[in-house]
């Protein structure tokens, strides 16, 4: 069936929310991120800051070197989460099928809403307009027959962009785009394409699938399909999600085990926090890594009982990391943790026979949630952590 998917992406979201509160910053380079001396990274940069070459995920120290006069603000995640909820309330006027990718980005399947509210394009324009007039924020919107194309469409005319790609225009839309637009290609992949003399998606489409296979392994299939604008993945609202996962692609491939362990702790905490927020507990912990050659490995472990406890998820993931990955550990370009196998959650119901330790960990998480709610995520971190923040 022909679907209509919207990708709504808030422009420089954290920075825009801060600037909305302090209009005097409007024209200044604004960075939201962790302090440089704590190895913080940029969470968001205003467009004025981006002109200096600053982008998100860049170490704050680097950003401040590029633009010493930039205004650095600490992230207020709990506030962004509130604003994000207001944005989602606008989405909910048009469809219940909303898949949030992060606080500032979501896919909407409006296929079933078109009879009520008009074409996908009309719905996209209304949502963008309502976000602007009601919340004073700017969003870029892409409308397309699938998630992949919708995401590119929202990005291509950013900021304040609106691009609708009709089903019969998908190929014409994709062909001239650089191959780097394909999901998961990144810098390393771009270099491979450069060697092969492939610059655009159209050229990739004309390339032999067999040769692609040699260079990209199993990933070739996916590239091939994406290049043809084929992406059947459904929009999965988190309510019905069968797993909750968090992953990060590193700017440079990493093989330092200490750094990777620190990332595991951070990812576990994020996944556990999302589980708790949705009142879910999962029994299966999955570790996902992507190597320099794009091959993706996943390793999973099933726990004795469902959990939403950061430390249990971290330990399971760490066990998989230490014992189930190839040795010596190749450099990783992506690291992710997912939890699935949801059980009926008991909310905050305490257990009579829970080991005292489990109870203690659960309370630590509860305290961290409360602090995060009040002061923002990252204001309280577990010892030994050296991730972003």
């Amino acid at each position: 069936m022909q679907r209509t998917i919207l990708h709504v992406d808030m422009d420089a979201f954290f920075a825009a929310v801060e600037i909305r509160a302090r209009p005097e910053l409007a024209l200044l380079p604004v960075i939201v991120g962790g302090a440089a001396e704590r190895r913080g990274v940029v969470a968001a940069a205003s467009y004025a800051a981006r002109r200096y070459g600053i982008h998100s995920a860049m170490p704050t120290a680097t950003a401040l070197r590029l633009c010493p006069q930039a205004v650095l603000l600490p992230p207020r995640h709990e506030h962004y989460a509130e604003v994000s909820q207001q944005i989602h309330a606008i989405f909910a006027r048009y469809t219940p099928q909303v898949e949030p990718l992060s606080l500032d980005e979501a896919f909407l399947d409006v296929t079933g809403s078109e009879r009520l509210f008009g074409s996908g394009e009309a719905i996209g324009r209304r949502i963008r307009q309502e976000i602007r007039t009601e919340l004073g924020l700017v969003a870029s919107v892409g409308v397309a027959p699938n998630k992949f194309v919708a995401k590119i469409a929202s990005d291509i005319d950013k900021p304040d962009g609106f691009v609708a790609v009709a089903p019969d225009q998908v190929q014409a839309f994709l062909d001239p785009l650089p191959v780097g637009r394909l999901w998961g290609v990144g810098k390393v992949g771009a270099r491979v394409f450069e060697r092969l003399g492939i610059a655009s998606i159209g050229q990739l489409r004309a390339y032999s699938p067999r040769l692609l296979q040699q260079h990209f392994g199993n990933f070739a299939d996916q590239l091939w399909q994406l290049a043809h604008g084929a992406d059947e993945r459904p929009v999965v609202s988190e309510r019905e999600a069968r797993s909750i996962s968090q992953e990060t692609t590193f700017p440079r491939d990493i093989d330092d085990r200490e750094v990777l362990r620190a990332w595991l702790q951070d990812l576990a905490a994020q996944v556990a926090w999302r589980l708790r927020r949705h009142g879910l507990q999962g029994r299966t912990v999955q570790l996902k890594v992507r190597l320099a050659d794009f091959s993706t490995l996943t390793r999973a472990q099933t726990l004795a009982q469902p959990t939403d406890i950061s430390d249990e998820i971290r330990r399971a993931a760490l066990g998989l990391f230490e014992q189930r990955l190839p040795r010596p550990l190749p450099p990783l370009r992506l690291l992710g943790i997912g939890v699935s196998g949801f059980a009926e959650s008991h909310g905050g119901q305490a257990d009579l026979f829970a080991a005292a330790e489990r109870e203690r960990q659960s309370r630590i998480d509860a305290v961290m949630d409360q602090v995060a709610e009040r002061y923002g995520r990252g204001s309280l971190v577990r010892g030994g952590r050296r991730g972003p923040g």
Partner: protein, 366 residues
């Protein structure tokens, strides 16, 4: 095998044993009821391999023998016959023939030798007591049993003999119920068995409220309870029940006494607007006053104030309101005591002056 019996005399035992025969069976024979005639006595047996029920009746003109018949159809046929009908059952080849007045039914059979009936109960300890006593022990605790929990040993009820007492304990991991009674018969005996959930529910259904006696035979793998014409035999859960005594709190320093009916009705009303899934309720205790509040995802709220007897410091604690109501429903006394320590520790509930039944409810973080 052949026997004649009145419809009513047959229907009663047939319905008792039919209750345990499940509709969808993996083994065809488990959909059947075992019919045995010996010495003018008819014995019917139904089983699901976990719980077995037998019921007996007296027959006329019986010739000994045994066979199995499809339980559902046999039952439906008997029920459909007119009142006071006389039923004759006989075997004809591999069919059973049921005759009554101008009706005739030919039912398929399976040989009785294939029927998985329980043999004797091994390693048994026997005791007898009034049915109402056993029913009391079960009904005071059975609502706390877990249902399909992965901790399979919680999907049942602990029956314990210790220190001259007979005790039942049930828990789903969030709350726990204990009920006990002095029993000179178990003096010197120390034994713990877990009766599976289904066995407990059957037993509660079968036991009467009167002083009629029941005989318990507690073995190492089975428990058998004989109630006159009906005998229930249940497998035991092969597992270790958690150390429940460890989780029963000592008297806390926050002691609340309330009128059970008033408290129950107040909680019942507030529970209407609680979160349907988690059923959270917030209890705020102050000098002789309890304020109970709930809210739900639809932003609806309910609040009740209840006069209580309490003179400790002000404090607040959350619970699953259903767990509190379940306990308040089985407490018999008019005054109920809630004994608490802090918002993270369990609450002990018992009827004022009642030494025999206690309830432990873990709090809920709200």
């Amino acid at each position: 095998m052949k026997f004649t019996i009145s419809r009513e005399a047959l229907l009663k035992p047939l319905q008792v044993v039919g209750g345990v025969v499940e509709k969808r069976q993996t083994l065809p024979i488990l959909a059947n009821v075992l019919v045995q005639v010996a010495n003018g006595k008819l014995t019917l047996t139904g089983t699901d391999l976990e719980v077995e029920l037998t019921a007996t009746a007296t027959v006329e003109n019986g010739t000994d023998g045994e066979i199995t018949l499809p339980a559902r159809k046999f039952n439906d046929i008997c029920r459909a016959l007119p009142d006071q009908a006389v039923v004759e059952v006989s075997i004809d080849g591999d069919k059973a023939v049921i005759r009554s007045g101008k009706s005739r039914f030919s039912l398929s059979t399976l040989p009785a030798t294939e029927y998985p009936a329980t043999e004797g109960v091994a390693g048994a300890f026997r005791l007898s007591m009034a049915q109402e006593v056993l029913k009391g022990l079960i009904d005071q605790t059975q609502f706390c049993m877990a249902n399909q929990d992965v901790r399979y040993y919680l999907n049942g009820m602990l029956l314990e003999m210790k220190g001259g007492q007979l005790r039942t304990v049930a828990t789903d991991g969030h709350r726990l119920a204990i009920s006990e009674t002095d029993s000179p018969e178990v003096a010197g005996e120390e034994r713990q068995v877990i009766i599976p959930r289904k066995g407990v529910l059957e037993l509660s259904r079968l036991l009467g409220d009167g002083e009629a006696q029941c005989e318990l035979t507690v073995g190492s793998n089975h428990i058998r309870v004989a109630l006159g014409e009906v005998v229930m035999t249940s497998k035991l859960v092969d597992g270790r029940f958690p150390d429940y005594e460890r989780v029963v709190p000592k008297a806390g320093d926050r002691l609340v006494t309330a009128d059970r009916h008033v408290l129950r009705q107040a909680l019942q009303r507030t529970s209407i607007l609680s979160n349907e899934k988690y059923r959270g309720i917030r209890l705020q205790f102050d000098q002789n006053l309890l304020r109970a509040t709930v809210n739900n995802p639809e932003q609806e709220e309910a609040e009740e104030e209840v006069e209580i007897s309490y003179d400790g410091a002000e404090f607040e604690i959350g619970f699953n309101v259903s767990y509190l109501l379940d306990a308040l429903n089985v407490v018999k006394q008019d005054q109920v005591v809630l004994s608490m320590t802090d918002a993270n520790s369990s609450c002990l509930i018992y009827g004022a002056g009642d030494k025999n039944s206690r309830y432990v409810v873990m709090p809920m973080r709200l």
